[in-house]
């Protein structure tokens, strides 16, 4: 244990809640920290929104988040006098995947993805059904692969209850949908599963498959899945640690932790834990659980933000 006021440490422990996407990182760091310092850390992942609700009620020390805090949540925290520090800790990339047998397609634009998966694509049974729509959208979103092959389009992807679904809609679909006056959702007629195994199996199973999963799962199953390059307006980029890390791969999001400043001051264990989280050891967990490490510049920025907060 560090320094002086170790008396309250053992009693209080550290409470973390929030995004289930970030939970694996925090959870692994909690383990490591526990092994090292003997401090108990409790982590769970009901979801970002739930996490903030608890965080702003002062129930948790740290909140995991897969998106920045929203205005309503900010107001809530303010009302309760909760002062916090936002720390970026990792990047989560989403891979658009198809079967390795599908050699006709190698790169898709956001417009293509909207045409294949967006709300207007419902009923498209073959890839080529999306041609017209993709064409219409083609101009606005870069390099398009169409015409698509005439093979069955079999979509397997996370369901609406999942954070990965939300991220996909947020990054890929939302803008185009809003521009077209559509609801920001995907098509409904696909096999949705909360179980990533099943998605991988579904994508592997059909030559015309299409789906999206967390970036990490592709690296683990690279011989069964083909990750498509994505064109976000600046040319086709294949997802990799490097392209996701430096942000050139367009479908990625930042993952955050929010630290309650007062708790960090009162309970040295909380501060110690955040120190550890941002240390090289702690950030190594990001890759261990399958996310992408922040670029060095961002790491430095995060560390600085934390140092400033501690100093205050």
């Amino acid at each position: 244990t560090s320094g002086g006021g170790g008396d309250t440490v053992a009693d209080d422990g550290i409470v973390i809640s929030g995004s289930s996407t970030v939970e694996p990182i925090s959870s692994l760091n909690a383990e490591k920290f526990h092994e090292r310092e003997g401090v108990a850390v409790s982590v769970d992942g009901p979801g970002t929104g739930d996490g903030f609700a608890r965080f702003c009620a002062g129930e948790t020390d740290i909140s995991d988040a897969s998106r920045p805090i929203e205005d309503a949540e900010k107001a809530e925290c303010e009302a309760n006098g909760i002062d916090y520090t936002e720390l970026e800790v990792a990047i989560d990339g989403l891979s658009v995947v198809t079967s390795p047998e599908n050699t006709d397609v190698s790169c898709v634009s956001f417009g293509d993805l909207y045409a294949l998966l967006g709300p207007e694509s419902e009923g498209f049974a073959e890839w080529s059904d999306a041609d017209a729509l993709a064409e219409e959208l083609g101009g606005s979103s870069g390099e398009s692969q169409q015409p698509f092959p005439r093979i069955d389009l079999v979509v397997t992807a996370p369901g609406e209850e999942s954070g990965t679904y939300d991220s996909f809609v947020e990054i890929v679909i939302k803008e185009i949908a809003e521009a077209r006056g559509q609801e920001a959702v995907t098509r409904r007629d696909y096999t949705s599963s909360p179980n990533d195994n099943v998605i991988i199996e579904g994508v592997r199973g059909a030559p015309g498959s299409l789906g999206w999963v967390g970036f990490a799962f592709v690296t683990e199953n690279s011989d069964e899945l083909e990750a498509l390059a994505v064109d976000g307006g600046e040319g086709c980029v294949v997802p990799s640690d490097a392209t996701v890390g430096d942000g050139t791969y367009p479908i990625s999001r930042r993952l955050y932790i929010y630290v309650n400043n007062r708790r960090a001051q009162e309970n040295p264990a909380v501060a110690d834990f955040v120190d550890f989280y941002l240390s090289d050891d702690g950030l190594a967990s990001v890759e261990e659980v399958g996310y992408v490490r922040l670029p060095d510049a961002d790491v430095a920025a995060t560390r600085k933000a934390w140092q400033d907060a501690r100093a205050a």
């Binding site: 995004s19 289930s20 996407t21 992942g45 009901p46 979801g47 970002t48 929104g49 739930d50 897969s66 998106r67 996370p158 369901g159 609406e160 209850e161 999942s162 954070g163 679904y165 939300d166 609801e183 959702v185 409904r188 007629d189 096999t191 949705s192 599963s193 909360p194 179980n195 195994n197 099943v198 199996e201 579904g202 199973g205």
Partner: protein, 310 residues
């Protein structure tokens, strides 16, 4: 001993104050416990009805007849879930009814007392297997080894595997209630048939089964109701994903009421905030409650018929 001299008064025939006091207190405490059971059902009904009513007031009623169950998009097509539930339950019954009844017939009519003593507990163990375990079994063994062999294109999450898993779960229910009903058929009926020169199979098929028929039907109804309410097997084997379209294809992914409820509360980000979607949970709960309640009342009635007959 005889007290002829001083005649008794009624109050002489009373027990001590302490004993009668204890009696009253105990009675009250036990009554309170029994009343508690009534309270629970009242609470269930009250909670379900009020929240479901709010849901129905708030939601656009036409969304109850959309063509899919996507609570987060405001599509609450209950028919999608009813079809999914029906398919799972029907497959489960197709498996459990013959298997359970066959096992019950064997145990009650053919097995030696010793065989029965060893085999019945094993069936009871099957009844004690938690549904998460059967869900795992359905997902990891039944889907690849059974369903995908019959239909190579079957989705890894499919209605058939969930149905088979639920079917295995309810086999012991059918077996044990049917066995009770068969065992309740009075021996004299069997004797009568045998005394007329009937063979075992004739006695079993023409006398014992017809005599036990209401118990057998009851076992089917109760198992059916249990299958309707089964959650985890379906949630695992069929996926408790956010939504589903109407489908009758058992090789594909579908959605039951129970799995839909689980997916409503297991969402990761930003899910529980959406009140309408969340309240649909209570609406589903109410529909499920009413369905199983009706079935159980029906099943009880059949069971009682057996009891009354003999």
């Amino acid at each position: 001993m005889a007290t002829t001299s001083s005649p008794l008064k009624p109050t002489d025939l009373r027990i001590g104050r302490r004993r009668s006091h204890v009696e009253r207190v105990v009675r009250f405490v036990l009554l309170a416990a029994a009343a508690f059971t009534v309270l629970i059902s009242t609470l269930i009904v009250a909670v379900l009805f009020t929240e479901a009513a709010q849901f129905l007031l708030r939601v656009d009623l036409s969304s109850l007849w959309a063509d899919g169950w996507y609570p987060r998009r405001g599509d609450f097509d209950i028919l999608t879930l009813l079809i999914g539930t029906l398919l799972v339950t029907a497959i489960a019954m197709l498996i459990a009814a013959p298997l359970g009844l066959g096992a019950a017939l064997y145990l009650s009519e053919y097995a030696s007392p010793r065989a029965r003593r060893t085999l019945k507990p094993i069936l009871e163990i099957l009844a004690g297997i938690p549904s998460v375990v059967l869900g795992y079994f359905a997902l990891t063994l039944i889907t690849p080894q059974v369903v995908q062999r019959m239909w190579p294109d079957a989705n890894p999450l499919n209605i058939a595997a969930a149905g088979i898993g639920v079917g295995i779960l309810i086999v012991p229910i059918v077996a044990s209630i049917s066995e009770d009903a068969l065992a309740a058929v009075p021996a004299p009926l069997r004797d009568a048939s045998i005394g007329l020169g009937a063979r075992k199979i004739s006695t079993t098929v023409r006398v014992v089964v017809p005599a036990a028929v209401s118990g057998i039907v009851a076992s089917f109804i109760i198992a059916f109701s249990r299958a309707l309410g089964e959650t985890m097997v379906v949630a695992i084997a069929m996926g408790a994903s956010g939504g589903a379209l109407r489908t009758w294809d058992i090789t594909q992914n579908g959605q039951t009421m129970t799995a839909a409820m689980i997916s409503l509360v297991t969402g990761s980000d930003n899910v529980k905030g959406d009140t309408e979607a969340f309240q649909s949970l209570f609406f589903l709960g109410l529909v499920l409650f009413l369905l199983t309640f009706a079935l159980n009342v029906l099943g009880e009635r059949f069971v009682r018929r057996v009891r009354h007959r003999y």
